[in-house]
Symmetry: C2
Subunit: 383 residues, 2 copies
């Protein structure tokens, strides 16, 4: 299959390009490298050095014999270049990771909020028009986030909700309560994409992904020439990465607020498989299909306890601290998301086992000389 | 009350500024005049010449003795100028009309879609941040549209919906099914604004307005120095204005498709009163309040028949033609919106009487030499 991966320099875009290429798909990846600029701006550095995309593509070719094609395109600002790339490559599917991906970044200031929504919403709009113009049959697989839903007091369904109201019934887009300007940008994207399916017959799978953990996939291993990013700082890091690095740095694991915040999680290996499944079983023409891409749920407290326990078994002296929550969010809430669609297509989850946590801790040990504990504590508040 | 009106040069922004000023409020209006550029771009001209805003402000001062303050500010692109204006004026309320307001315009091309969403969403984001920074207690009255809801198969509520789902209950933003990139921009605005209320305690009233008709309000009368715009072309015009002009031009009234499309309508005089009521009874801190701002519903067929009947009684020879629908929309559907909140606050509706239609037809007669029938037929298709 000819697959275009947008955002191929990123944490998931790079492994996704490799994973698909390893399975014999023809991959073209586009990236503008703006994420690397954003990281510099906020002083975020991945735990291990991430080689340039060119370097990694070359290393992958040497290792595997597979080519990954590549173009520098900024989809938010270069719609013509995007059209040109798609017209030439004629993808059967497009996997769209090319968005600003940090909630705290989007909350830092007006400039950051506007930049995030402009980049993400206009980029996706440009993409919709480019597909319509150059490859209208292509299946668009768009990365969304479980955070779009927020924490409603009813079960979270997969994108759509059957509503009974005053004796009548309709199937509607699931009503969302996103928690940051970043999450809102994804909500806007989803609304625009559903419209494209309805009006133009586009085919879209919106993957509302949970928090992804894991520093590598099988194809990449721990080769320094191939590795993807692992962020643990307050802006681009995740809670689990932060805890892992804090264990190794011998500082307290910092839980925001009371720690009852519960979210869906999934292993980076499962992310790859989910995308593959979406590609193998594409949305129909005119279908706006939504999958909740998670395999299990944890509260922040449970996550911290898990990482601390594994760390201690490895000889570290992990301890947990509660710090004021920089976010505005419920710290105790109902959370019951549905996530059966991808299982029904064949996903076999790799859960957050002690072994998986151990692997991440060992990654942090290997790169402990690069840990910058000052970058971990939150500086951006929501209120 | 100190009220800042954004988009004070527009069809409703200008009468709103005058209406509030006539009632003793201190009005500052901001406009970038970009709407006039958009009109030129698509060859749209209002039926009667609309004098410059400066000219009209001067004419209003001469007539009434009331001052309307004015600054040229582009809220989508000049966030600092917006902050400066609000910081100096310290409004107690802001009425926000400053958006690209045409569905067909937004559907013309990628450039138009992106321009519409960028202008509207970024403008409103800039406004949220400006309010937060300079006048956090100000009540923001935002013009939305009934078109955000689309035509669901359940009753349309006022912005929020009580959902019972699998034995649990929540109050959620009403799920929307907008019909153009313009309508989507307003949906995105509403989502951003609800977040601002939830996170920062902003106070917002989102007025989901139906199609407004009427060429003037009492304070403006038919004075050529004061008049507001009346668009009847395919891009910026409304169906009712189109029918009125077609009656006078002695060409068939063009109904799109089967004509069963039903929408909510309201008189321009009621728009003014609704905004006044929203200002007099403001949203509470942290409240995202939504009113459906309509007074009655008509199908396009019913509307065309009504205008034709009044026209014929005035001696015209009105006849109705069905033309292919340029839009993608249901032409027969359920439609039952709730609109009691503004009535509960004291709105006394002025309905679409024969007299009201007569007034618009007479307006078209007075300016019949300026009618350009070529501008009426749709050139922009949805599909």
């Amino acid at each position: 299959m000819r697959v275009c991966v947008l955002g191929g320099d990123g944490y998931l875009g790079w492994p996704c390009s490799v994973y698909l290429s390893a399975r014999g798909h023809q991959v073209l990846t586009l990236d503008s490298f703006i994420k690397r600029e954003w990281e510099k701006k906020v002083g975020s550095e991945p735990l291990a050095v991430v080689k340039s995309l060119e370097h990694r593509i070359e290393a992958w070719r040497t290792l595997s014999g597979h080519d990954i094609a590549f173009r520098v395109v900024d989809i938010a600002n270069e719609p013509e270049a995007l059209c040109d790339a798609l017209a030439t490559f004629q993808p059967e599917a497009i996997v769209h990771f090319a968005e600003q991906c940090s909630a705290p970044y989007s909350m830092a200031s007006r400039v950051h909020a506007v930049e995030t929504q402009r980049n993400n919403v206009m980029g996706t709009l440009n993409l919709m028009f480019a597909v319509r113009e150059t490859c209208p049959e292509a299946h668009l697989v768009k990365l969304g986030t479980m955070g779009e839903y927020g924490t409603p007091n009813i079960d979270i369904e997969e994108g759509w909700l059957e509503v009974d109201h005053k004796g009548r019934r309709d199937r509607v887009l699931y009503p969302k309560r996103p928690g940051s300007f970043y999450h809102l940008s994804k909500v806007h994207d989803s609304a625009n994409l559903e419209f494209g399916c309805r009006i133009w017959g586009q085919r879209v799978t919106d993957l509302n992904q949970g928090v992804v953990y894991g520093h590598t996939i099988e194809e990449l291993g721990d080769a320094p020439d191939l590795g993807t990013s692992f962020h643990y700082d307050a802006t681009f890091g995740t809670a689990i990465n932060r805890f892992v690095v804090q264990v190794v740095a011998d500082v307290p694991l910092t839980v925001y607020g009371r720690g009852g915040q519960t979210r869906g999680y999934l292993n980076i290996r499962d992310t790859m498989r989910c995308i593959e499944l979406a590609l193998l079983f594409p949305a129909k023409r005119g279908e706006f299909r939504v999958f909740n891409q998670i395999t299990e749920n944890f509260s922040v407290n449970a996550l911290a306890a898990k990482v601390a326990r594994v760390g201690n078994a490895m000889g570290f002296r992990a301890r947990i601290d509660h710090i004021p929550n920089p976010r505005v969010e419920l710290e105790e809430h109902y959370y019951n998301p549905t996530y059966t669609a991808l299982r029904d297509l064949g996903l076999e989850p790799h859960l957050l086992t002690d072994r998986a946590i151990e692997g991440m801790i060992l990654h942090a040990v290997r790169h402990r000389h690069r840990i910058n504990v000052d970058s971990i504590l939150p500086k951006i508040g929501w209120a």
